[in-house]
Symmetry: C2
DNA sequence: CATAAAATAGGCAAATTTGCCTAAATTAAG
DNA sequence: CTTAATTTAGGCAAATTTGCCTATTTTATG
């Protein structure tokens, strides 16, 4: 079986990210700039339509000033 | 800039995974079967040579019987 | 309502991942 | 030491991701 996908988990992860970003009062663009990731990619991640990579998770956590682990608390 | 990579973080993540897998006394093959992921892919992840996807992290955590968050505790 | 800001959508090309396979190398065990 | 078990390595094709771009939709604001 190719390309494992976990839609529900990706959705939850995206919602968690959105929550944390908004808690900072940031727009997707602001987060995108800080993490040096494309705005459209942030949107895709938050909507859970993409199976993001670990590295992007790391740089996003860094941009948010928190531990990666906190993005998985849901 | 294309394809963000965080080699150090990927390395740490891989080491953490190996640690947790061995704590269970499992071979890579055993984990691979349980998570329904290729053996060679488990090897790549543990060595930190690949920028794995979120979904694989989720299914691996599931196979290990733990929360994804625990894989990021290092 | 009107305007601006923010988020979503979709297409495209290049880069990367992933499963599948075989072979080699390392480690564990008898 | 020998053999088996485990892990690493590498190539390949197909699938997916990602950045880049433009347009559209939704949400916020005056």
């Amino acid at each position: 079986m190719k390309y494992t996908r976990h839609p529900e988990a990706l959705k939850k992860f995206g919602e968690r990210l959105r929550e944390l970003r908004k808690a900072k009062g940031w727009s997707q663009e602001e987060l995108a700039n800080r993490a040096d990731i494309e705005l459209s990619q942030i949107s895709r991640i938050e909507r859970g339509v993409i199976n993001t990579s670990l590295s992007q998770v790391f740089v996003i956590a860094e941009a948010l000033g928190m531990e990666p682990r906190e993005l998985f608390t849901f």
